[in-house]
Symmetry: C2
Subunit: 270 residues, 2 copies
């Protein structure tokens, strides 16, 4: 079946969005549409220009026999700022203050559209970091981790506090939770992360950074390296965080359970 340019553009856009960070040879499209490579090249120029005009990302082209075109999604600073300002406003809703000064966050993390936007911002931030895998802590980090990983086209490793019989052999470490100074255990299934991976750690929340430090240690137990660390919300803490380099999208500087106020601002992303 032969397709006109207009149809090809619709299908190509769909294909790229479904397959970010994956190199596609031009022959794939010329066979898919029964079209000459020169027409496909022109199509790709149109898609690329529009992706860039609309700040969706870009198409990167690699020449040669092993070459092809790769969709690299990105989020520009203006779009990210607008999104994060709105998110901060939502975070300041006093209704989320729970007894003990904890914050209810499932209205944010339970919203797949919001989670996907968050995932895109992290994926954009680490788009040139050669990420091989995303690691997160069960359970609230999981939606965020998948949103990032699907944009970067890499697998997810889920770290847990408890052991599960359905995970096979596991690697465990003990770590000191930063804020409570309690010794805890975290573990990861041996086969859920390939050795020598470059791992992006994603979590929903960071206070003292003890959990993140634990995950960094776990990464090293798999002979792997840390590509980066991204947290949705960091809570300003009296002590220095245990982690030096990380990206936070939002920062909560004050929770006053009595006055029912929360102060949220954009984190250190930019």
């Amino acid at each position: 079946m032969k397709f006109r340019r207009s149809g090809r553009l619709v299908d190509m856009t769909h294909y790229f969005m479904d397959n970010p960070h994956r190199q596609v040879p031009l022959t794939y499209f010329s066979e898919r549409y029964q079209s000459a490579k020169s027409s496909i090249s022109e199509d790709l120029t149109i898609v690329k220009e529009m992706f860039e005009a609309k700040k969706i990302g870009t198409l990167e082209t690699a020449a040669g026999a092993t070459g092809g075109v790769t969709f690299i999604p990105s989020v520009d600073e203006e779009t990210a700022t607008t999104f994060l300002e709105e998110l901060c406003e939502r975070l300041e809703d006093p209704d989320r203050i729970l007894p003990g000064g904890y914050l209810y966050m499932m209205d944010v993390i339970g919203d797949p559209t919001l989670v996907q936007s968050i995932g895109r911002i992290f994926a954009s931030r680490y788009r040139h970091a050669n990420v091989d895998a995303v690691m997160t802590m069960a359970t609230k980090g999981i939606p965020l981790a998948y949103a990032v990983a699907s944009q970067l086209n890499v697998p997810v490793s889920i770290v847990r506090h408890e052991h599960r019989i359905t995970e096979g052999s596991i690697v465990s470490i003990n770590y000191v939770s930063g804020s409570k100074k309690r010794i805890q255990t975290m573990s990861l299934a041996r086969r859920s992360l390939k050795p020598h991976s470059n791992v992006l750690i994603i979590d929903d929340f960071m206070k003292a950074g003890g959990t993140i430090r634990g995950m960094m240690e776990l990464v090293h137990e798999f002979q792997s390296t840390v590509a980066g660390i991204g947290v949705l919300t960091e809570a300003v803490h009296e002590e220095e965080p245990l982690v030096d380099e990380y990206t936070s999208l939002t920062k909560i500087s004050q929770v006053d359970a009595k006055a029912k106020t929360i102060k949220a601002e954009i984190g250190n992303l930019f």
Copy 2:
């Protein structure tokens, strides 16, 4: 900024994929591209024809002042069958047999591309079911639930075995786990599901169906109704399952830990 048809088609396709199951007024696009409504209508016809030709889904148009166009993603039987046959082959890999006959599944559930395809199949199956929310059980159901919910444009409610202080008031029920005949507790944060919702239950695994039955009960505790039940894998069980109507994508009929064989086939989807 004015855009040509080719550019509009790229951006529209991107927009629809980002916003499935969301009605968009035509004026949105005519303002976005500074184009006449008649041109936008022609664009939409092209997008719709291509989405249908490539089995991506369809555009549904509602006329009138409150009208607009909605992208309904779908997966045709042939595409789903090919995908599920490949999945069954992967499930039959004897390496996933763990001590006690348990199966390691994180290679499947840890793969975001695969998870998104699974999400699309469920979202297609329940696309006319007026789903208001997706409910799942932590932790392995979470990735699947988000993949379905993002396609249906609805929030996710995560049920847990343990209580968390960061969830505020919760609703708990006791239930009998089907295979082990043990009394267990599951709970859901009061504010994570709106009363009178129509809830699609998604889980990774079903044996006797006790957990699913528990979630159905929890749905009723929220004055809500069950829109449907979807499980990635059902294990054939000696007794009748506790759940009557459900959709399973795959079915594991035999796990022989000694001979190291697994038999997997397509579930009851079609």
